[in-house]
């Protein structure tokens, strides 16, 4: 797997390179700002890009905007966005155009090496990785739609689905059996009007999308 990273802090850039190379992941280039990142992506065509949201010059959301450009210009390149704070609004921006090969995590998550690498691989493989905190933010929205009809447990399951977890991982996180998870997921699909005729993978994405776009 080849990556390009963009992070303005020299310290963290060095740390990330150490972490990735230690795990056998090739770091093709490391940029300090969004322009450098876009140039590096054009040159190296990596599998996945790791990008910090806040970078020079304005220190607001350059990284996020660069991520959106990358998803549009190079759809084959997956993007994992890291940030000191996660914001559901940024997540919605990220996922509004593409729901695959996208990740959005708190920077803190790099400290849990195994989980971080797991999320990175998932994103590189075309999956999603959403920080639990983003999901929590999405849940506080007051809405009047089918999501309100979900039970608390079903919301938990949906939240974990939104994070990009598999059924087995969800079962492990909630300490229930795989079949219980499957039952919850079917119930969620039914309540959200996603019928079995549709492809199962698509239904997952659609449910998550419904969840993310609800406002």
């Amino acid at each position: 797997m080849r990556t390009v990273i963009a992070e303005d802090s020299v310290l963290l850039r060095a740390g990330l390179i150490r972490l990735l190379e230690g795990a056998g992941i090739e770091v093709a280039a490391a940029a300090g700002d969004a322009d450098g990142l876009l140039a590096a992506v054009a040159e190296h065509q990596p599998d996945v890009v790791i990008v910090d949201v806040r970078m020079p010059p304005s220190h607001t959301d350059e990284g996020l905007r660069a991520a959106l450009v990358i998803r549009r210009e190079w759809p084959a390149v997956a993007v994992l966005v890291l940030s000191q704070y996660v914001e559901e609004r940024y997540a919605a921006d990220l996922l509004s155009a593409h729901t695959s090969g996208v990740g959005y995590l708190l920077k803190d998550r790099v400290a849990d090496v195994a989980e971080f690498l797991d999320a990175l691989r998932r994103v590189a493989a075309g999956g999603t990785a959403l920080d639990p905190e983003v999901v929590a933010q999405l849940l506080v929205r007051q809405r009047s739609d089918p999501l309100d009809r979900l039970t608390a447990r079903e919301r938990d399951v949906l939240a974990l689905m939104a994070e990009g977890r598999s059924n087995t991982a969800i079962a492990k996180a909630l300490v229930v059996s795989d079949s219980a998870v499957a039952k919850h997921i079917n119930s969620i699909f039914a309540k959200l009007g996603l019928h079995p005729g549709d492809d199962d993978g698509d239904r997952r994405v659609l449910a998550v999308l419904r969840f993310l776009s609800a406002d």
Binding site: L11, L12, Y85, E88, Y90, V110, A111, E133, V140
Partner: protein
Amino acid sequence: MSPNAAARRVRQWLATGPWRPARVRHNVAFVLVSLPLQAAGLVLLFVSSVAGLEVLHHGLVPGTGQLGKGSVIAGGAVVGVVVVAAATRPLTSLQRRRMRRLQGVSIPAVRAGEPLTWRELASSARSVTAMRKLAREAAAASRWAFIGRQLLYHLLAAPVAGICGLAAIGTGIGGLALACIYLYARVLRGTYERTHSWELAALTVAGFLLLLVMPWLLAGVTRLDTVAAVALLGPDRAGTLARRVEVLTQSRAGVVDAADAERRRIERDLHDGAQQRLVSLAMNLGIARVGLTQVPDEARKVIEDAHEEAKAALSELRDLVRGLHPAILEDRGLDAALSGVAARAPFPVRLRVEVAVRPSPTVEAIAYFVVSEALANATKHAHASRAEVAVGRTGDILRVSVTDDGVGGADQALGTGLAGLARRAGSVDGTFSLTSPAGGPTEIVVELPCAP
């Protein structure tokens, strides 16, 4: 009083009294330099009267009864008023300059105000902008009074001060002449001295007395002139208050903005500094935890603990920094920023934000702070199990309400957090209200004016 203290007081009095040579020289110069300006007042009076009389005169002769007497008198009055009005402004500003340059007294300018609309009057109870206008209106009402006061100064006070000043100087010159008379008579007119020696001696003494009194007279005249100028050419009470409100409003807005900017700076510094270092530290410990499999159990335990500590510190610092001033608030507004706050509460929070037009960054920051603090209070003190946050903008008022189902009994006087909320709302003329009966629920409502 001891003799020493008395002597000191006398010395002090001599050193600062009005008859110090430097002071006398200054006062004489002040009176003399002022004369042309003061004379200008008299000239003004004279010119306007003459102009009026001229019109009256010419109006009567060629008019041959065609013109009514009343209209001629009115015409004269108009010419007089025009001359006076044209001369008043420059005269006043010259007089102010004289006071500033010669007496070191600065007389602030009087500003004209604009009239209030009924709508502004209606909202004046809560808006300081309206109050400012109200104060300005009061100043405007006194504008006519101000014209009168200026005329009073230029036409009466200043000429009188000039005449009195001249008289004071004359007193000094006369005193000097009289004081010398004995000597003069004795040396040059020996016989006269012999016949009128007592009279001459009395006159000399009188001369010395006049010389002694002269500095006081001079100082008194100068002082009266200054007092009259300040009272008649400066703003009156309403004007001073209006000016004060203006200055205070501006300086307060400056303080609020400065505090805001400071918070942003701290957030930025922590983000670029401590937070990055902590992430790096936690990451390295994470790498060590995964990679160092061959170390003794004890060392491994230490690494694990350090790793967990670093992550906890990171999380605490993040919460703290986000409370200061989240970048997303500036970037995307209240709605986007508040979901982060609501999500961090350890209980379910319902969030409803309806703000079509974004208020100023300062008002947004305060609204954000209110929600953040209120939820922190609900967590720490109220032991709430759920809360509801509603933010809405109706017209020029941003209304923020936070309700929790906790134990209630919150008191603004007890909790520093709540007092801080009230103060921050007050800093932009917002209102703060707290309803928290024992047993709950607690409701905090903050209304912030956000005039465009």
